[in-house]
């Protein structure tokens, strides 16, 4: 694997950190380099610090690591926050003329590059461009051709006029030449470029794009971190494809609007995070028992209650599996990578309609805000299939009428799947209700019909188990005695941890599970392994508990619930330690 390069820009909220980081990530992506980004909203000392981090390589990168090579520090705190990741030889770019940075001390062994960011920006046309001056300086330090930055600046500012673009290019060059002239040194970095074409997107955007590709036409939501980007992405774009986005007054309304649209025959979705899922749980049972296809996207963040809204956690799994009173089937899908966010969204819509039930599509904060590069054909639209399941039209409706002539949306069938009639279908008029109902959707408390309808709804799960592919994603050494299981967004860090462990001659088989319910049977894999570890971002091991339940055997666990995602090197260390100490059944 080629050397990776780790870069960050940090300062206070309001310093334009996000857009600066995004421009650099875009420049790297456009130069044919792979990129994996992350955001720090750390509050270890006090509020206000924020950073955008970029890991890049000519090879695929899919995790963050505990290392920082070049840091643009707009505040002294940015340096403090990153002391553990900075190393001997790390470069810190800062503006020594900024009042707060005048007395800043560059830690021993590190290289301070003092660039008058504000002054050079003003000379180029405005102080607001000081971060772009810093980007130019970073290009010089990293020996990264500045033309790539030009291209990203054009994308970012192109619609605001050529003059602004030109000013920014000039600002970048001012930073670049300042470093070249004042610091005549080789910083050992040499960011080569390639001819590869990449697209750069985050998990929320991939979910939004997947929804449009899948034919979603209606989205209702209420803004909430970290799911808001799904809504922001869809706003305007969904309209271009004949759909509509509504900002509801709350999550109660959002899910009910989506339910209404789905009853109208549209592919509908809502997205939210934990607190919103709590509210939506009120209507969840209605969606499920009325057998309405709906995709509910839960971009998890740290809970409970308001928790840590800008922090990572995979703590909602139990809620999605069991939330709501009574018993009714639902599916839970957990894409394991940013690209899979796209494909699993498409799949979620198909599953929802084929099996006529709510599908939780769950991502998490770290995946939602991570920008990652992919070859454009990763999202080959020709591969998208839309399966609407069992829908009747004016001609076929009569095969599904009761003896009294009423349409039967809950017809008792062998596979549990009943016909659907969209409003407007002649003779298809019917009732949908949260009350227990008969085949026609009419309220009933008849004991036999109750049992038949419960069984019918559950037969859909059995049908889905038989008909669909619920396989986990597998990598590593298939014959290894060490088995590591994970779900959701930890896959990237685990994949890279695997490389590090292999270098230490530790062989591991990895199963990354994108399906929480229904889920793959892991019994054989667990039985074949000597050591089994389940890795996840929560305290109680919610997925590990499911594995134990399924295989009737104890497994080891690595849990992280400090609000920060797994890093590849950190995870490799933890797995290594767990294996050296042997397995201790975690009670």
């Amino acid at each position: 694997m080629a050397a990776d390069f780790n870069w960050a820009v940090g300062g206070e909220a309001g310093d334009g950190i996000d857009s600066t980081g995004k421009i650099f990530a875009q420049a790297l992506s456009r130069s044919g380099r792979h990129v994996f980004t992350s955001k720090d909203f750390a509050s270890r000392i006090r509020g206000g610090y924020t950073a955008y981090k970029v890991r890049t390589s000519v090879d695929k990168v899919q995790s963050v690591v505990d290392r920082l090579d070049v840091l643009i520090a707009l505040t002294p705190r940015t340096i403090e926050e990153n002391l553990e990741e900075l190393h001997e030889g790390s470069v810190i770019i800062y503006d020594g003329e900024r009042t707060t940075m005048q007395n800043v001390e560059i830690p021993e062994g590190m290289i301070g590059i003092d660039v008058p960011l504000k002054r050079l920006a003003e000379e180029a046309g405005g102080a607001i461009m000081r971060n772009v001056v810093a980007l130019g300086a970073a290009c010089e330090v990293a020996e990264f051709p500045i033309e790539n930055l030009d291209s990203a600046l054009e994308k970012r500012f192109g619609d605001k006029g050529q003059k602004l673009v030109d000013n920014n290019k000039e600002a970048a060059r001012a930073g670049q030449s300042y470093v070249a002239e004042e610091y005549d040194a080789d910083f050992e970095y040499d960011l080569e470029t390639t001819d590869e074409d990449y697209v750069l997107l985050n998990g929320d955007e991939a979910i939004g794009m997947g929804a449009i590709a899948a034919g979603c036409r209606f989205y209702s939501g209420y803004p909430i971190t970290p799911a808001t980007d799904v809504m922001t992405y869809l706003t305007g774009r969904l309209e271009r494809y004949g759909g509509h986005v509504v900002q509801a007054e709350d999550e109660l309304s959002a899910i009910n609007m989506a339910l209404g649209a789905a009853r109208g025959g549209a592919r509908a979705m809502t997205a939210t995070s934990g607190p919103g899922i709590d509210l939506m749980t009120e209507t969840f049972g209605l969606v499920a028992t009325s057998e309405t296809p709906l995709v509910i996207c839960n971009v998890m963040r740290s809970g409970p209650s308001t928790g840590m809204p800008t922090k990572q956690e995979q703590g909602d799994l139990n809620h999605m599996l069991y939330g709501g009173h009574g018993e009714v089937p639902r599916f839970v899908l957990a894409p394991t990578t940013v690209a899979e966010c796209f494909w699993k969204t498409v799949e979620a819509f198909n599953l929802a309609e084929k099996y006529q039930l709510p599908v939780y599509l769950t991502a998490d904060l770290s995946m939602a805000v991570t920008e990652q590069t992919f070859a454009p054909d990763t999202f080959d639209m020709d591969e998208v299939e839309v399966d609407r399941g069992f829908v009747v039209d004016d001609a076929s409706v009569e095969e599904h009428l009761s003896e009294s002539g009423g349409f039967m949306p809950h017809e008792l069938t062998d596979d549990g799947i009943s016909p659907r009639a969209f409003p407007g279908t002649v003779d298809g008029a019917h009732m949908s209700t949260g009350l227990e109902h008969d085949e026609q959707g009419r309220r009933t408390e008849d004991t036999e019909m109750r049992v038949e309808q419960v069984d019918k709804r559950n037969r859909k799960v059995e049908s889905a188990r038989e008909r669909e592919d619920w396989s986990p994603r597998e990598f590593g050494d298939a014959d290894a005695e060490n088995l590591v299981i994970t779900w959701g967004s930890n896959e990237g860090a685990l994949a890279e941890a695997l490389d590090l462990l292999e270098a230490d001659d530790v062989d591991i088989r990895v199963l990354s599970v994108p399906y929480v319910f229904p889920r793959p049977d892991l019994s054989d894999a667990v039985a074949a392994a000597e050591n089994v570890i389940v890795v996840e971002c929560n305290e109680t091991g919610q997925f590990a508990n499911l594995v134990e339940h399924d295989v009737l055997e104890r497994v080891d666990r690595i849990n992280k619930y400090d609000g920060v995602r797994f890093k590849a090197d950190e995870l490799a260390r933890e797995i290594g330690e767990a294996l050296e100490t042997g397995t201790e059944a975690t009670q």
Binding site: S220, Y241, H244, L252, A262, R263, A268, L286, V386, S432
Partner: protein
């Protein structure tokens, strides 16, 4: 849409379990007649019902329908109408459903001005749970949970609607069958959110707001020289706590419904069997 639709086509084969004499019978009849009169039929009509005695209406009517969660009928209706502008949407519920648990949605549904009809069967009592105060109960109305009365003023739904920017506000009485039907019909025909509060007496638990009370006290705005397009006149009627009115209180003839404001006019149930044309443009945006 067939021209020979009769209002009985909107009747389901389920017999209502409302108490004999319940106002909801008359309310429902007026709704069905208004739907038939305005050229709708069960297959192009979607009724959303809330929870409570009134919420059972979805079961007794024949159409596409959803009987939902308590208080959330309006958002459901909103979703149906946005996805299917070609479908007639009518939302029905009670005073508890609309002005208590669902009050937040009421305000926003009014603001959105989606082209649908909202019928609230207001009996000023919780009937299904056997007689507790509702948000429209009188201040001194004694019930099992308010032995000395709620001691708080009732919600004025018309005022709430007007303050939220309503474009159609009306009041009817379930027992005045002709006028009730007429008023609902005007709400259906209104280009936007047609809100009708219906006095629909509970004969079992409310011995104050009775048929006799409404019959004796109702002033019909149609006979009172009231101009519903006059905002100030509407405001005066709404804030007059001494009288009970029926009729169209306010109507904004300049109303621009949501689908026109936002250009939402497609039947969203109709989608291709693969990604939409030009979907690859979305990927290109990420270069």
């Amino acid at each position: 849409m067939s021209s020979d639709v009769r209002f009985t086509d909107f009747k389901s084969d389920k017999q209502p379990t409302w108490c004999p004499g319940c106002g909801d019978f008359g309310t429902m009849n007026g709704m069905m007649k208004a739907l038939a009169e305005t050229g709708n039929d069960p297959d192009n009509t979607f009724v959303v019902a809330g929870i409570g005695c009134s919420g059972k209406i979805g079961t007794y009517m024949h159409s596409y329908a959803l009987h939902g969660v308590h208080g959330r009928a309006l958002p459901v209706g909103t979703g149906v109408k946005m996805a299917r502008p070609d479908i007639e949407v009518m939302v029905a519920g009670g005073d508890g459903d609309g002005y208590s648990i669902g009050a937040g949605h009421f305000v926003h549904a009014v603001r959105r001005n989606v082209d649908m009809t909202y019928v609230v069967m207001d009996n000023r009592i919780y009937g299904l749970t056997k007689g507790q105060a509702s948000p429209t109960s009188r201040e001194d109305f004694e019930t099992s949970t308010t032995p000395e009365g709620p001691k708080q003023p009732p919600v004025n739904p018309h005022a709430l609607a007007l303050a939220s920017g309503a474009t159609f506000i009306a009041q009817s009485f379930s027992s005045d069958a002709l006028r009730h039907q007429e008023i609902i019909q005007q709400a259906v025909e209104h280009d936007g959110f047609g809100f009708v509060n219906v006095y629909s007496p509970c004969v079992t638990f409310n011995d104050v707001d009775t048929y006799d009370y409404f019959r004796d006290s109702l002033v019909d705005l149609a006979e009172a020289d009231h101009d519903p397009t006059d905002y100030d006149a509407a405001k005066d009627v709404i804030l007059d706590s001494d009288k009970e009115y029926q009729g169209v209180i306010y109507r904004d003839d300049e109303s621009v419904p949501y689908h026109e404001q936002h250009g939402v006019d497609e039947n969203m149930s109709d989608i291709p069997d693969g990604a939409p044309e030009n979907a690859t443009d979305l990927v290109r945006e990420f270069y």
